[in-house]
Symmetry: D2
Subunit: 342 residues, 4 copies
């Protein structure tokens, strides 16, 4: 097969590094940048797989670059970096890249929380406390204006992205008084590795909840609902499903005043009108409809007992990680937000 060059459309708007490109989200970020008409992918790095070509590790992404070790003292010429490191490991690298003047889209949780004590409770010591609180929260539809001038973006993962998008129109009105989120995710959400538990034979024909006593994404979801106007306690329970990519949230909300199905649906349509990646759909969304896309499908209704039900479906690797990361990078660079994502 003829080597495919990047489909660059003139001089690139930015030369981009993807750090941690051997994991699921880093590899997809590399692919999206590689195919992006305005970005040049200059390097893909990985500690564990340095020396391997990315298209040997992920043939379907077709990125013909060799993974190298990240050398933080040699990042001249790099305009922007997408960092796809595990929570906790990202902070020092992010700090070094920022110190070198590189724009950073971080996919970890290291700069998402606004309260250091909360961070430390769930993730341990922070690796770059001076920078803590400096990131712009990268849920694009909520922080679009701040993202245009951001230097460091803390892109939320799939659980907060899907949950907050499902609830934002109600939260912004200050309506939420009680929220249960039953979240369901495909196996890619658990990342590479995982041992016996993620073996095909373990997950095939299986489904279960996990971290039922408390999940570190709950405080992040509460933080964002509060910021939107609804300081509300959240019960959050994640589940794993026997599929590859996808994140479905079923949100059960109680409101401070009654709202009808028609009112709720009108509110959602108005709120998300014109959003390039949010589609308010006419019935409960399915994961298959958003697979391999940056799109979020949202549905709201009110059930017989008066509870508001809000559902959202995204691809956990796209809108829940790497796709949203590039969506944010587009904004940071003054590009069209949808560039390279359709």
């Amino acid at each position: 097969m003829a080597e495919v060059a990047q489909p660059l459309d003139g001089a690139p708007a930015a030369r981009v590094l993807v750090a941690g490109a051997s994991g699921f989200t880093g590899a997809l970020a590399a692919q999206i940048v590689w195919r992006h008409p305005k970005l040049e992918l200059v390097a893909v790095t990985s500690r564990s797989d340095a020396g391997t070509r990315l298209d040997a590790l992920y043939p379907r992404y077709r990125v013909p670059l060799e993974l190298t070790e990240l050398e933080l003292d040699r990042v001249e010429g790099i305009d922007a970096a997408i960092v796809a490191y595990p929570h906790g490991a990202a902070a020092p690298t992010v700090a070094a890249l920022r110190a070198a003047g590189v724009l950073v889209v971080d996919l970890s949780a290291d700069f998402r929380l606004r309260d250091l004590a909360t961070y430390e409770r769930w993730y341990g010591e922070h690796g770059a406390p001076d920078l803590f609180g400096e990131g712009v929260y990268g849920l694009t539809e909520l922080y679009r204006e701040e993202l245009r001038t951001a230097k460091l973006v803390a892109t939320p993962g799939c659980y907060p992205t899907a949950s907050v998008l499902a609830l934002a129109p109600l939260a912004e009105r200050g309506l939420l008084t009680d929220v249960v989120i039953d979240a369901k995710q495909g196996v890619s959400g658990a990342g590479r590795g995982g041992g016996d538990a993620m073996h095909y034979v373990s997950m095939d024909e299986n489904a279960f909840a996990y971290k039922t006593e408390g999940h570190r994404h709950r405080p992040e979801i509460e933080q964002e609902l509060t910021a939107l106007g609804s300081p509300v306690p959240v019960t959050f329970v994640p589940h794993l499903l026997p599929l590859d990519q996808g994140e479905l949230t079923s949100c059960y909300a109680q409101t401070s005043e009654p709202i009808s199905k028609e009112e709720a649906q009108a509110l959602y349509r108005a709120r998300y009108e014109g959003e390039p990646f949010i589609r308010v759909v006419d019935g409960p969304p399915g994961l298959r409809d958003v697979r391999d896309s940056n799109v979020c499908h949202v549905y709201v209704t009110v059930e017989e007992r008066g509870r508001v039900l809000a559902f959202s479906a995204i691809d956990n690797l796209w809108k829940g990680a790497s796709g949203q990361g590039v969506q944010n990078l587009n904004l940071m660079l003054g590009l069209n937000e949808t560039e390279g994502l359709q």
Copy 2:
């Protein structure tokens, strides 16, 4: 392959008919009766597939009997029937079988509800109103004594079975004040047929909620929680998952007084001690662990915000239909409850 005879252990305790044996639950009921050491399977009937052998339709069940049309005026010699008809269609046949003196285990919803108006709202006109209210509700662990002398058993389906088993210990104490049930089911729960929506390509890598504005199993679940001692409104939302057999319920409950995780777990262990098919497990149950069995795994805990979380996992065709049906039939016949089910 040598034809396998039924493994009868002496004279049968009953000669059994399975009506509607060409559907998923009827076919499994036929298999369980066929392999049962104390029951003789004398006929399997089906309107749509009469003339076909059951092992041609369901090779894996290995029941070498031909499906025939049910002739209600020729049921002499039949002691018991398992009726696996659609909701609404079952009642007249059940009535005719009862009139002929046949013990009936009905797998439809026709005799589960205790309020006729509620039945009519969700299912339409009832086909045997004289018999309405005469059935014993076949959730074995809750109605065991009544089942021993029952002539007509209305076996609950997978949603009520899994939901009520997950919540019963709390309901019996009158503790429940608010309940959200997020139920997740494999595709076999939708039955044969289903057209495009149940095509492999539609369900593969998919998951979604359905009937979000109101599901007919909600009033049945409320009826049973009320009967146990907790008259509580229930929000019930079913989902379909890309797997064959399995039903997982995640129940989010608020209680009239606080309960600790330890108290809740002790309550559940005490309540289900000695139950042959209920296992109180140490963490969130997975569907794979109960597949092709009559076992229900239950887990209870309390999350950080104080909500009680109760999970249950069953095989929707076994404990959620045909397995429980035979469990009930065993009791009706004075047999060991677990006979033929392990």
Copy 3:
């Protein structure tokens, strides 16, 4: 979500109709044309689903056009059509479109065979015998030059495409003396419909051969191997696998003279060098690596007993149908062959 317009890059090279857009291959063809930077999708037609929007039927393809009934007397202004009708049904429509001067890419088998008697044996009477034999066989890598001036292209389906691409380098040398093709396909290959046999519950955890006594794609494969230089009898057996999209062929070939693994691999690399959609890979190809792409992965080796093994993997809906159809249309229109396909 804001309505996305087609990403047209200046005036379109052609205004395109997709006929039969409610089936799996037609719907994908519509999506590819819709996203194509040089083609304008002017209509999508369907007898069975006229009146429905295509993005209601296939949300993930996001084509916001309403399906209409094809009116063959009103095709002025249409430059080209992709016809995705069942075998046998396509011919009359193809003939009418050609009579109106429309370029046609046919995805059915109606114009693939060169011998009318063979066609009639496998498919019945031909619906446009005057046109029989007029189509150019649309296996792009073999008929590229003829395709540039073709008016009617008979695009092969997934089985012949994958089989012939796996064997072509050997066939062209006249080396093949005996061929067994064990072909394995995902469920989308069986098309919409299919009833009980294609229900999720039937195919989940299943795999089997079918049409073992003779499959109508065998004569087509023999025709093409003969045309390449190896008149060889072919044993062809298709299988269905529990996955959505994908076609894997395992070809077991005997050759008129011995060939070493190294010679075979060099032959394949030389033959497919520079091909934009064929990648000669270093080990047995996997379906996941080609999913949702127009790429074909090919691997050849020689096993211990001297048999040549050739494997190919494609996405049956892309390179095995709609993707290859657009690849051909690009050539017919003088566009870059890869336009809209990467």
Copy 4:
């Protein structure tokens, strides 16, 4: 849940140890013995998981015993052992158990081959060369009489079992002159572990061939076909499919003299008449029909080009390993061959 005791039917016919019970085949062997009405499961051993209860590792098997380390000097009172160790590791343990007078069913390849040089080429040095050649080959349907008096049984794995059962009726007539076997297996066939390659995300929607240049089961299959009367070279290529349990072989055979479809089918029906676990079916067998059973479905036909096609479907963990192991143990102990397997 009440602890379930073994369903022993009187005094056990044998006290049985399962060594290597933490792997897929060992765990299933333990379950089958545990449920067996005539066998007592006295110990389950594992180096890697000693101290863990087997029902914690494999909840669905419900064997409430703790895994211990095997102590070969303390096996008094044990009548028989099923050894489920990796190839190469089994031989010394088998030898020690035999020296202690324990009947052994070995599930590894260590005693299946009859030629030591062949063994060493594929598996390396043999761990108990004195015992090499002493085992009876445990393909029950072919060696039933020898198995009745065997002390050491080398039970074949899924590939040889399925392949030889598919071809035996032809092999016994000396008809085979050329054989291609395209074998397809579920992921459990690769065993526990496997790292990234067996991760759910790697195998989902995937399928591929492996070990295409030569597989160690080929000489074993050739050995058995030769023993049956057809010394024939075999081309054997295994594939992995995205499913849990199942082994499908598609065999493409040429015969020394023509045979019609009717003759072939009559030959197979006659050969397997009365076999409790072989069913000669009327069309290509599917994996779903044999899942979780010890049954083998076989189908033979002749395609248009004159090649004989023989298909077999088994559950790779049952008839392809542990089920057949117990089938053999039943014979060794003078029990009914089907005891505990239905």
